[in-house]
């Protein structure tokens, strides 16, 4: 597989630990970034870190990813800062409180909007952009949680499943245009998003997850599990018959 040139990146949800850690690897090579996030102070902290590590440019763009009306100005800003976009990394998301999402329609809708609808909405103009460029990379953080609905996190999982399915189709659509679509499926990672959980042995280090994402992005891969052992695990889990799945209460 030929190595992709990834020097100009648009990163949505750049204050996510995994996204930031991945960007550090590109920054060391002198890459340029347009970074979005909701909190300007946190965004500046990330941008400053990437600049100090060698980024040629790290331009913050304050954005709530569910602010659909601002997508055109985001794309304009990215193109004007970067010239052209080599890769987009979509990493924003939230881990909903499953119990609350079972009680509250509002909480369920918010979780789905942030984790699924806004991701698919963003990819709509971005797919058109890359299709026109006839090159480039779309990398999106989905999750192993999207591979099987589970008792403890099916609201989060359902949204990630939507993302995974969407990317499958998008990959086929964009392949003739020479555009790569990468689905990233992390297991649980030790990040601020999961800091309130008991972080057991299944939790990966963000540095290791970022190493694999970086490798998958530059090698033009379609799907990457982080860590890699989630692939066989999820393969077993997603093939469990419903009858067994139900009895195990997974």
């Amino acid at each position: 597989m030929p190595r992709l040139t990834v020097r100009r990146l648009l990163v949505v949800g750049a204050t996510s630990r995994i996204a930031h850690e991945t960007c550090r690897r590109f920054a060391a090579e002198g890459a340029s970034f347009v970074l979005t996030g909701r909190d300007v102070a946190k965004l500046d902290a990330v941008a400053g870190d990437l600049r100090a590590r060698g980024a040629a440019l790290a331009a913050p763009f304050v954005l709530d990813a569910t602010d659909y009306a601002r997508y055109p100005s985001l794309l304009d800003a990215a193109v004007s800062h970067l010239g052209r976009i080599d890769a987009v990394l979509v990493a924003h998301g939230l881990l909903p409180d499953q119990a609350e999402a079972e009680r509250s329609v509002e909480a369920m809708r918010e979780a789905f909007e942030v984790n699924a609808t806004s991701v698919l909405a963003l990819l709509t103009p971005l797919a058109t952009y890359f299709e026109g460029e006839r090159r480039g990379l779309i990398a999106v953080l989905s999750s192993v949680a999207g591979d099987r609905g589970r008792r403890e996190n099916y609201v989060y999982g359902a949204a990630k499943a939507a993302v995974t399915r969407f990317l499958e189709g998008l990959r086929v659509r964009l392949a003739p245009a020479g555009v790569t679509v990468l689905t990233v499926k992390p297991g649980p990672v030790k990040t601020p998003m999961t800091a309130h959980l008991e972080q057991g042995v299944l939790f990966a280090e963000p540095e290791d997850v970022a190493d694999r994402i970086y490798a998958a992005m530059t090698r033009g891969r379609d799907i990457v599990h982080t860590p890699s052992w989630w692939r066989p695990i999820m393969s077993v889990l997603s093939h469990l018959p419903e009858r067994v799945h139900k009895r195990l209460g997974l």
């Binding site: 060391a28 946190k42 902290a45 100090a52 590590r53 060698g54 800091a195 540095e207 970086y214």
Partner: protein
């Protein structure tokens, strides 16, 4: 009693010190993620202490029954000027992560301790020293500014001899007791390559060691390994300098090797260590040998084995480091080695170095002119504690001092005797901050 803590208590082992003795249990841990969004430090009901990488050996990084502020998430660089070598970074970043950025750009840490897996905040809070102490002094001398967050909500930028100079002197080497460090700025030193030119010289006695150290007074880096089980004090004297050559490309991938589980507690004993030391001493055929090496094995020989502290088994070990004045230094060091030898206590790696007269900037800084001896002693229970008390008594009696970062045993009287500025320091301690170490050395003695 800390010893009565359950072995399966993950909270106390995750937030342990590097020597795993004593064990302590924080009442709560607060993980810090953003320097701009810190919790209200005045709102905690229990005493607070920042916890970086847990590489202090004793109880300086522990806060039994209190709140630990885990700084691992504060690991961002803020600015790095590649032309001047000025670096500003959040206090939780490790020296390892700083080196990943500095070295490819032709810069190095101005002072580095024997592991790169300490946080920047920890390096400052313990005012660490390295193999260049005799010419460069401590890490604190290179700190140009830092931001201290106090429990009353103040965020103070401290700078040497300028802003809040007293608080600066208290915070350098201040064991994290003056508040939470949000970020620090320091001056790096330029290097031509990532290689070190090393000269190793065998010595057969302590006076021979001192002669070598004096002759190498201008060498940038010096250190000696000493066979703590040999009565005369034989060893290898190493000196090094940054060698010409080329710089590496920025690194992206890291390989980690780690001791995967605890070794049985009896693995290291006087016999195995005696054998190791003999082999190590004789591995070098000639009296003087020259070589070139990457900076990692020169500065961080043990970092290649991730959790090397686990080779000491579950009971952990006591790391010991003292400094004794040059006057009578040889005799006192010989007495220390004799006490260790008499107790049959094995030491895997004993290190000897001379500290120079560059003044340490902190009120509680450990380094001062003299001979410093560092070694680890597998923890065998009361007999090991008794040995450390004997060693402490010898060092303090001689006008020496013990290193708080490596101490779990010194008495309040010994602390007061060897840190005469402690009362001036205490006035700067944040009223909401404390540590297991601080409570121990300021306890009223019966």
């Amino acid at each position: 009693m800390p010893d009565m803590l359950s072995k399966t208590d993950t909270f106390s082992t995750r937030y342990a010190s590097w020597g795993r003795y004593p064990l302590a249990r924080p009442a709560a841990v607060e993980r810090l993620a953003w320097r701009q969004a810190l919790p209200d430090l005045g709102a905690f009901e229990r005493p607070v202490l920042a916890y970086g990488q847990g590489r202090s050996y004793g109880d300086a990084c522990l806060n039994n029954g209190g709140v630990l502020l885990d700084t691992d998430g504060l690991d961002r660089l803020i600015a790095f000027d590649r032309t001047t070598g000025r670096v500003r970074a959040e206090a939780g970043v490790t020296l390892a992560k700083l080196l990943d950025v500095l070295v490819p750009a032709g810069w190095f840490l101005p002072v580095t301790p024997g592991t790169k897996f300490v946080s920047l905040g920890g390096a400052i809070a313990n005012d660490v020293h390295g193999k260049n102490h005799h010419v460069a002094g401590t890490f604190g001398r290179f700190v140009t500014a830092m931001e201290l967050v106090r429990s009353d909500g103040q965020r103070l930028v401290l700078a040497p001899e300028r802003e809040h100079a007293d608080l600066f002197r208290a915070t350098i080497g201040g064991l994290g007791l003056t508040g939470l460090l949000a970020w620090a700025e320091f001056q790096a030193i330029p290097i031509p390559s990532d290689q070190i030119a090393v000269t190793r010289t065998r010595f057969r006695s302590l006076p021979e060691f001192l002669t070598l150290a004096e002759a190498a007074a201008d060498a940038p880096y010096t250190v000696a390994w000493i066979d703590a089980l040999s009565p005369a004090g034989r060893g290898l004297f190493m000196q090094g300098h940054h060698a010409p050559g080329s710089l590496p490309a920025p690194s992206r991938f890291k390989q980690k090797l780690a001791a995967p589980f605890d070794a049985p507690s009896g693995t290291l004993n006087a016999l195995t260590v005696r054998a190791f030391n003999a082999v190590y001493y004789r591995a070098q055929r000639r009296d003087v040998a020259r070589s070139r090496t990457h900076y990692e094995p020169f500065f961080y020989p043990l970092d290649a084995v991730g959790d090397w502290n686990r080779i000491y088994g579950r009971r952990g070990f006591l790391q010991y480091q003292c400094v004794v004045p040059f006057a009578d230094g040889v005799a006192v060091t010989a007495a220390l080695l004799a006490a260790i030898s008499a107790a049959g206590a094995a030491s895997f790696l004993a290190v000897l170095k001379t500290f120079g007269d560059v003044p340490s900037p902190g009120l509680l800084s450990f380094p001062r002119p003299g001979i410093t001896l560092a070694l680890d002693l597998p923890h065998r229970g009361p007999e090991t504690l008794a040995l450390v008390r004997r060693l402490n008594a010898i060092a303090i009696e001689a006008g020496g001092a013990l290193y708080p970062a490596k101490d779990a045993v010194m008495s309040p009287a010994q602390f007061r005797a060897s840190y005469p500025d402690w009362e001036a320091f205490a006035a700067h301690v944040d009223p909401r901050f404390s540590s297991s170490f601080w409570r121990r050395v300021t306890a009223a003695e019966r």
